[in-house]
Subunit: 82 residues, 2 copies
């Protein structure tokens, strides 16, 4: 299953609870697309959130975030990893 | 120890060997700054590389990548994580 990293901008002031809630929304919706969101990191100062996921396609990852109400600004398939 | 995510652009065509070599350069230099590079992911199509690290400061992470010859285009401190 391919791995993806997606990036959200503009989430200045996001809190740990807000990140956990957004992640829970993804988890609640991911099965319909066969996606598995694994981890997410947030910088509340710049408003940047980075998510690590696996799934059948970039479009599938994109759709889960859209369905959850927080579309990603960038999504990359990352076939290389160390 | 704070966690950081940094992003490199323009690495179109990067290979698994190239990613491993760049990561090894970071690992060889990180002790001088008290940084620990943990994982890195790469998309050779868009040329995007994302690194996960911990260290004493954003500037310390930045300096290791500069010293290794591959400065990051973006670095974020990510105090929130799920």
């Amino acid at each position: 299953m391919p791995t993806f990293i997606d990036i959200h901008h503009g989430m200045v002031g996001i809190t740990q609870d807000g990140l956990a809630e957004a992640h829970a929304e993804d988890l609640a919706l991911q099965a319909e697309e066969g996606v598995s969101f694994e981890r997410a990191w947030a910088d509340p100062v710049s408003g940047t959130v980075v998510c690590l996921a696996s799934g059948p396609s970039l479009e599938a990852v994109k759709r889960v975030h859209i369905h959850a109400g927080h579309p990603a600004d960038e999504i990359y398939e990352v076939p290389l990893e160390v």
